[in-house]
Symmetry: C4
Subunit: 261 residues, 4 copies
């Protein structure tokens, strides 16, 4: 099946910017992007499903089954100093290495058709220790972006702190270059519990992206939002625990089936 993007609406957008937030360390990207969706009341217009996600469905509430998926939302600029925005949030990253490349590239082709002019990939940066004032570290696919954004509260001696980035956030910035789309990775420092949302780090990332895009975002409801997320994340986590064995092997197959089939 590979990867599919299903559109429910063709929004008319003027050179929108793209913001990406998938689960990862401290869930910083996912929480920050998800919060922007809620605060901006962005409108959902497309979904991405992929055979590179875990072969499960989740039932967040009631009896309604949900695929593991990513969702696309759009928001139209209200003021002259703002841009139209497309935001992608997701339940999971690829469960296999090749999938990261495929999913990111399918999204980039989709964004190209939507005339996206710039990409902001949000994520967390594991600094190993808790921090009261998490910084936001920037990584770019074009040096001009460092100049453009150095006036904001972003740390750009990235190489010393990061070295490399695993998964979708990094590939969005790296692959976007081949699509001639300027892209920047905004990474919030965190102590790096996987999937355990780090509100402070997410808040730092939200502040930077809001400044850049001239958005007035009230971060006071962030804690509450995170509480809501946790239940769903626990579900996904529970499944991942189930799938610890290499999925190709019948053991894990059996494990899965002992849970349900």
């Amino acid at each position: 099946m590979a990867t599919k993007i299903i559109s429910y609406e063709k929004p008319k957008l003027r050179n929108p910017v793209f913001i990406e937030g998938l689960p990862g360390v401290g869930n910083v990207g996912r929480v920050a992007a998800g919060y922007l969706v809620e605060e901006l009341k962005a409108k959902k217009f497309a979904e991405l499903i992929s055979s590179h996600f875990m072969p499960i469905v989740v039932i967040p509430q009631g009896s309604q089954v949900e695929m593991i998926k990513a969702e696309f939302f759009y928001w139209k600029a209200k003021e002259r100093n703002q841009s139209d925005i497309i935001i992608m949030i997701g339940d999971s990253q690829s469960a296999d290495p090749e999938g990261h490349y495929e999913i990111v590239e399918e999204v980039l082709k989709f964004l190209k058709r939507l005339n996206v002019k710039e990409i902001f990939a949000l994520g967390g940066l594991n600094i190993g220790v808790p921090t009261e004032r998490p910084k936001v570290v920037g990584a770019v696919n074009d040096s001009s972006l460092e100049k453009k954004y150095k006036k904001y509260n972003i740390v750009f001696d990235t190489s010393q702190r990061v070295g490399s980035i695993v998964g979708a956030a990094g590939l969005f910035v790296g692959l976007a270059k081949y699509y001639n789309i300027p892209a920047i990775c905004l990474l919030g420092e965190t102590s790096g519990m996987p999937f355990l949302p780090d509100p402070k780090s997410a808040e730092a990332v939200i502040r930077v992206i809001s400044q850049i895009l001239n958005l007035k975002i009230d971060v006071s409801k962030l804690q509450e939002k995170i509480r809501e997320m946790k239940e769903f994340m626990k579900r996904v986590e529970a499944m991942q625990a189930q799938l610890l064995q290499p999925p190709a092997s019948p053991t894990s197959e059996k494990e899965k089936l002992t849970y349900i089939g």
Copy 2:
């Protein structure tokens, strides 16, 4: 080779419903669907083979080789309050994660061509402890189905009990939505021995599906049917035990070959 469906006949069916039962926890889905095939004397009309199944053939009896496969049967309504039915039963689920998506999607395309109007995915729900009176839990891809079926003996506070569903049964319900086919997962509670058929749970599922589809199914022969199944299941199980190692590694390769080549 991916996944192939080979049709032996083009049955003329009027908006049939589809019932799916593959091996899984308590083998509930496989046993229930297999029993319906026998009781309804449904006619086989197609087979599915896939490179996502284990690379083995089975010799259930005599000297005749059988591929690991899924089979499609049809049954034509006898009375005005019944529907034409297509039933899929299989020997195995995908041996790799991507395969679950591919197999389910190939089947959905096939069902779309057959004008299937509704999907019933049968499976087991591992509740960890033995139960005298297994309940049947429902998960749907459209909330209207909960209303439609709540008058039957189905538990719909699914989220609390299930959380998520691994493998084909869940993906059938989740992916069917993108094909505009209403789908419901009927999961019989079981103590969850993998592949060890749980007759009580299968019986509970058969009773619910029979009521919904106005089928008169005599469940008295279920025990006997399960005895027949066991021999074949043992064969498949034996092979799976053989393939415990990650199949990509030469060790398991060697293991397999020590068994036969």
Copy 3:
């Protein structure tokens, strides 16, 4: 790259039969088919390479690099009671599960174009204990073949002895059915050392296939032939030992590279 068959010649054959022998338990199939190639002085006309084989090249002698591959040979009938024959021998089976399906199916498509009328898949059957008089067990994709061949020295109460067959030999017989090619698996009993050639078992298989095809094969040189094979097999074995780790993981990657790059 998937799987490719490169033809060096388009032999004119009249409804040839096909004999397959790949490495496996006791190397029975590979040894038996390889010996037939030599004794019949069959002519090589095609090669199969596949990204499902290990990513290595072998240097059997001198400085000449050889891909891991399978080779196709043909032999034209000398007498009226004989058939034209195509023989496939190979260095390896697929290193991943899907590969078994893909390689077998690519070969079947190739055979269909060559009007192959029947398939003989040769292999070994691990009976766990050494045997002085190894039997040859048969598994078929059409019951008529059991009748056709029961007059030969083949044991057909296969189900009790075998149960299932892993890898190419079994899939050739199983998949051939979908190509309407009658196929029989001839499995020589062996104590089942993987890759350690079992001359007695190979000899038993050669005797049966020679009888069926009215070939006069002198088995006296079998031992010698096996000695020649061993050196090459050791090479392949050495590499497989190297690749024990799941190849996808950097450990094994590193392992490989520590050996050579």
Copy 4:
């Protein structure tokens, strides 16, 4: 996404030769080819990216993200006894077995379009023990090449020393045969620390290739060049350490994400 080659320029070359150097044992091939690029001041004209590389990006310095990639450079002959040269150097080999085949074949198709007349694949040969005077061992895809190059300082009793070659270097030589391109593997003896550059072995390989191609290469700056490389290699190494688990399994997934996401 598979594998892509992006060209930035269509160089006009007259029957160029191709030199390949990817990371591997002692990093011999990568170091030797990289040094040639610098000494010849070869011009970059294309890049290769692949979903078979690790799903990471690296930040070698500043804030600029770099994909894991291979790069193509060209150099035009200055004298009548020289050939135009294309050199490929890369950050990594494929992270999965199939990828080695796909990447090598995509490059061979690319080289065919550039009328490459001969291939030199550079690598290291792990002899287990340190050596003061590393020899260069040759493996070829056509015996005529042994005659052609035996006058150079190359050891050709390859079979006894090597037996087999894992990864890209060997596949370049093996697969080139199917593209009718003569190819030779030049392997420098090394004690075989993975990725730890072995300057002596690289120097031996550089001397041989320079002699063959009539290049005047000053090896005095090799040590310095290796120092520069190390920092970047450490980055890639760090990531590989992170990805030790089979990448398909959520553990490693999680591991990655704990590092960054």
